[in-house]
Every structure is written in C-alpha cells, then in structure tokens.
Point group: C2
Chain length 448, copies 2
Amino acid sequence: MDPPNDWYNLLADLDFELPPDLPPPNGAAGGLSPQIPLSLIRQELSTKRWTPIPDDVVARFRQWRPTPLRRARELEAALGTRATILYKYEGANMAGSHKLNTAVAQAYYYKAAGTKRLAVATGAGQWGTAIAEGCRMFELGCRVYMVRKSYEDKPYRKTIMEMLGAEVVPSPSEETETGRRFLAEGQSSGTLSIALAEAMEETLVEGTRFCAGSAETYSMLHQTVVGLEAMAQCSELGAWPDVVVAGVGAGSNLAGIAFPFLGRALTGEGPEVRLLSVEPAACPKLTKGRYAYDYTDSSEQTPLQKMYTLGSRFTPPSMHAGGLRYHATGKLISALFDRGMIDAVAYRQQEVFASGTLFARCEGIVPAPESAHAVHGAVVAAREADERGESPTILVSLSGHGLFDMSAYEAYSNGTLDDVEVADETIEESLAQLPEVAEPVASAGGRG
Amino acid sequence: MDPPNDWYNLLADLDFELPPDLPPPNGAAGGLSPQIPLSLIRQELSTKRWTPIPDDVVARFRQWRPTPLRRARELEAALGTRATILYKYEGANMAGSHKLNTAVAQAYYYKAAGTKRLAVATGAGQWGTAIAEGCRMFELGCRVYMVRKSYEDKPYRKTIMEMLGAEVVPSPSEETETGRRFLAEGQSSGTLSIALAEAMEETLVEGTRFCAGSAETYSMLHQTVVGLEAMAQCSELGAWPDVVVAGVGAGSNLAGIAFPFLGRALTGEGPEVRLLSVEPAACPKLTKGRYAYDYTDSSEQTPLQKMYTLGSRFTPPSMHAGGLRYHATGKLISALFDRGMIDAVAYRQQEVFASGTLFARCEGIVPAPESAHAVHGAVVAAREADERGESPTILVSLSGHGLFDMSAYEAYSNGTLDDVEVADETIEESLAQLPEVAEPVASAGGRG
C-alpha cells in the first residue's frame, strides 16, 4: 500500500462556513498572515475537496508511511468487551508522533516561499522534533521554544532536536521580551501559549518565520493522510469504525484520523460515525470552556479566532500530556463541536495512565500520555457499549509513543502521579478576561 | 503481507556438522540441558529445513510483524554512493529490538513444558525487555539480572520491564553467590557473562528455569522470520542483497536476517551473498578472538562450546552497545566464520555513532548503538564499493531503536564519548586462561 497522493478537505463537505477571524481589539497590527506562505493560506481557506500532495512531500512520507492499523485483540480480551478496538499507530518515526505529517508539509511550503529559518513553539517536544526533522529535510534553520517543564522532564527530546540540527531554548526564556515578562512574574514552568508568543517574537530576526503548529486548518488538512490510510486499511480488514477517538490538544490529531470518515458520512458515501475528543481534566477546553473569540497565544498580538477556549491567559496545572496543555481547540474542531458533530469527554491522568499501561501490556506499544487519553476514551466507550448490549467498532488514534515519558509511567506505577484537575472557579476567572468583541454574525443552530 | 508460518533452519543446507559440546573439564555436573524444554533442544539439533511456527506464536507476531524493509535513499544521497542501501527495521515493538522474535517463541515453549517462572540475563536491557514481554504474553513469572552499568545508564528499560510484570535486579547482585563473589572482587559494573551466571544460579528456586538468550542455535532459528520477510520484501522491490550486514553480539541478529539468503545461495536457488559481521573494537571476538572450546558464561558450570571467544573471564571495557559486550559468538556463527562464510570487521564507537547520527538525520530512525554498528559497516562497505567502481545492494539489519540511548548520542555530539578499544595484551592474557580440553576431531578446512 502506498501513502495517499491527495489530502482531504472537510470544508468541501460542510454546509456552513467558519466564523471569520477578527483583528485584535487592542489594535495590534501583527498577526500570523505575513508569516505564513501564501500556499498555506490558500489551503487554510480552500473549499476544494482534494489537494494534491507535492511529490517531494510524498517521497518523505514513504520513509515511515503507511503506518500500521491493527486490531487490539489482547486489549479487547483484557477488557472482556464485545467491541472491536482498532488502532492506527503514528509513533514509529523519529518525531515520535503524527505531528511529522504536517511538519514535513509545512517545511516544504516555507522553503518554497524562500524562508531561511523557522521559529516554533513546542509543548511536550513532539512538534519541535517534528519541525526540526522537516527543517532538516528541506535545509531550513530551526529554533524551538520548548515549554520549560517539558524541557526539564524530557531532556532526550532536546537531544533529538539537536541531532536534527535545531537550536532548543526553554520557555519562558531570557531571549524574548515575552519570556522575560513571564519570568519576572515568577512564571517559569511555561505553557504552550507563552512559547508560541516567544517564537512569534523571534521573527524579528531577518529571514526567520514563525511556523504555527497544529491548530491551523491547513495542519488538519495535512493530517488527513492518517484517516485516508485508515479508510483503506479498514476496508481491507472489513471493519468500519462507529466511533473514532483521539486525544485533543488543538485538534489536528482528531481531525487527521476522523475527517475522512466524517466526510464519507456527510456525503452519504459512508455510514454515520461518532467523533470522540478526549481531553485532560487539567485542560478541559471543550467540556468546560466557552465558544468565543479569543487570542491563539498569550502575546495578544494575533487575530482573534472563534474557538472553544479557557482563555489565552489560562495556565493549566503541570501534567504529563504536555501536548494537550493548549488553552483552546482549533476553530474547525470548535465549530464541529458547537454543532454537535463531535462529542467530548475529559479524564484525569491517573485513569488515563491506567489505560495506557494496560494498552502497553496488551499490545506491546507504550502510548504517549496524549495518546493514552484516546486509549482511555476507547476503554470507557467499550465498557459503556457493553452495558448497552452493543458491539461497536472503535478506532483509536495512537498518535505517538511514550518512550520519553517513562518517568510518568514510573510515577503512575509508584502511586506518586498527581491526579490534577482544574477548579471551576479558576476557569470562570480566566473566562472573565476574554477579549470583548462584537461577533460578526451568530452561528445558527450551535450549542455556543 | 503476513508473517512467515515456518522458521528456516540453515543446518539443513550445510555440508558440515557443528563441533559437539563437551562437558566442563572441572567436572561440574550442571549445564543448560536440564533447564531447556525438550522442544527447544530438538530445534537446536534438528537438520530439517522448515519448522512450523506455533499458531499462538504467529498470532503474537502479528502485533508487530511484518516489520518494514525500506531503501535508505537519503543516506545513499548523503554518502554520494552508487550502492543501494536497504534496511530492515525491527525496533518498533515494546522490547525495542529483534530480540522479541525469539523471546515470544521461547516463552511459549517454556510455558508448554510446565515452567512457572523464568530467570534471564540482559546486557543493554533489550533481551530482558523482550523476555519480560514474552513472559507477560504467556503468563510466566520473570526475574531479570541486568548488567549494572546498563541498569544505571538506562533506567527506563527497568521501568518498561516492570510495567510488563518482571522483577529487575542489577548484576553483580547480592542475590547470588556468583554476584557476591564478583562484588567482593570489586567488579561492580558487570558483564553479560556474570549476569548469565547469576540467572543460572537463580534456577535453584523451585519452578524457575533459566532462559538463555541469543547465542543458542534455536534463537537463530527463531530470528529467521526477519530474513524470510526480507526475502519477500526484496523480491517485491526487485532488489536482492549482495551483502547483508549486522551488528554481532552472540550472532542471532546476523543469523536472523542473513541465513535465509545464505540458504538460497547454498542450494543454488539464489545468488551469492556476503555476510558481514560488525563488532565493537572493545569486544572483538571474531576479529581478535580464538576458535576454541570455552564456557558460555563466567560460572564455568556449563558445557564447553566451540566458539570464537575472547575467554569467558574477559571483561570488555564499558561502552554503549551493551548487547555486543558478550565474550564469544554462538557456535553456528563461529563455524561459518571459521569456514570463511562470514566476514568480520570491528569498529570503535566514535565512528559508529557518527554513522548512527547520520542515519538518524537521513532516515528518521535513531539506531540502537548495536544497530549503529551495522549502519557503520554498511557505510564503509558502500564507500569501498565506490572506490572499486562497484554498485552493490547492501541490506542492513536495523535491529533496534536507540531512544533509550540518547545520552550516548548526546555524549557523541558533545565530543565526550570514550573511544574504547581493547589492548592485544589484554586479549592474550584472557585467552591464556581458556579451559584445556582435547578436541574431538579437528574441523577440516577452517581458519581456526
């Protein structure tokens, strides 16, 4: 089997448009647009169903794609469930996760647009490693601002990024004004929004451009290689998912594996499918956030996007799924959730690591903490189905490996893992600080 | 593609027999035989070409097999070579290496023979993780004696083994007489032979049996799934190897990937193939050892096997490829080398890590230090071929991932990696202590 030659664009099959971005109310002139190659902006706005993948990108994909889709028979047996559990494993590449899919594409387009060097932000290090590899492939310089908590917890992520030629800086750092401001405020463990703001500031350096990450709609487009492969593999297996489950930070992981299935359902070419977002109780943007216009990072310089958000100033408590510590979800995922086309659940990390450990023992792959959220979502969904006497097919996005997260698994098995959750009052306080803007048109029929 | 249903036995196609084992000259009554299930002893001695793989083992193989075989196009480009470099990647399983192939089979046969618990020795931790996973699959208890140097350098290996339900003990330990003896002598960093001796001693515990590892001929049989898959994948690609390269500790890695190709060549069904063993300059058993009867571990209780050896009392200097720190190679690999059917080279770890880093940058997989030896062997072979104006196809065994060896890669990139080698006098001293035995019959036509 070959990797796909085209990406699938869900926007082609939706009967609504995304709410437009708005300029920041503080009058900041900035924004992402001048940073991003026109080719990617076109993809962001396109409503064409298929976008051809450049040959150079397909050639790189062949280094690790197609990725395996397997049935988790041992996990099914351990649960005693009548559900069928399939998983698609994206972790067997050097970046260790699905993020490499869009990183390769983004590095390609930035290079084609004449960029010399990229500045990026990374939480757990997976995006940083992915973009470092993309930059290596297309000969771009690379500076990574890495959330300090992860930088200290996962030193080998730094080593890998440096092996790939990237420069890695813990965030908040002394290198930018934003970083110095947060350090002065005593905020040293960092968040993804601070790191994003630092990376944006880095673009003051000549020839350097900011490369966003996973929340953008074009990242979701690039990730559809996962779902397109999964559809072909499901057909081969003679199994089709009733539910597709993924851990959700900004949402590209869920988008990538699920949108091709959802598209088939929307056009009537495939059966109904339930999309299930699993987020941490420590950062519950879909389950406890608000659908509102907000900043995508804490610099408050970017255009506002309508998203499910906990507020751009929200700092989630420290926890091991660093990739899920983002304050909001991408606008496309948010719009689908608002319309009831995605379900969302939130779990605490102890139960998540219990399911992650069970999966590892049964299936022989240690899930990344982010992916362990999806596994736990599938475990709960299977149990609920058993109670209802149903036997669905559940497809899990095993988006990354957890081999750099063994200290977290060790803490879980020692009983020293913090079972973090965030108080409702903290969320209310944060939401009270959302920017005040007049919404262009209220979206009809949503939950927001 | 499905994993194979039969293992391939090279002994069927050799025109000579292996030298028989001999009882230890010190009159020790022990030996491995009472420890090993009859089914495995039959496989050790069998000359049948094909052995059916039990259905329960094939079912487990499907969790991670077939493994990918890919062309290393980026590495070829970086080298500017006219050679074609293929690699077969065995690292994308929880054990992280090819060792899981035989661990699953061995756990199956021990369980079938009524064993309750296995005691094993591990160097870098790959064998320990593999057998812990095999034991988990077939519900056996498991105690792992891990070379202390690796235990300390690679704490996450321990965490994974414990996740799989195994008990992990650093060797030399206070748990056995052998361990206490070496500790009293001030030998605390350990070697694989000491750990082996400790695991053997552990079998005094009721219901516990020793499970050898990789040097046994049946381990090599089990590993042939790698080469059989590779043959099918090479046929699909329309490329057939002129050279097959693998890092060699005891030799099952080389055996697994190369024996099926060698068998085809021997029976005239396939073209000639060169087998290339790559060993560390710190433990150069084929390139500097002697073909002689020796103990397989430092307990001096086991039957003597005729092997290329540096002496069972030889302690290689500390280095990062712990899996290659064994004092000898298996008797089948040794006999083939003696007959000129295998070539051997030895390299220092700095050049090995240089090639490992280059491979990671080019191909997106961090090789285990053991596998980086094979990569370096391929790099040198490609360069030599270019000088001769040849363009061979080189197949590399990428036997494991190096994600738990990032500190070694970090040391390499910092310039703090020790470039260890062993002095000829040290080897001479060790070889002077080989047991004195009368050989049954001199093997005709060998180099020994």
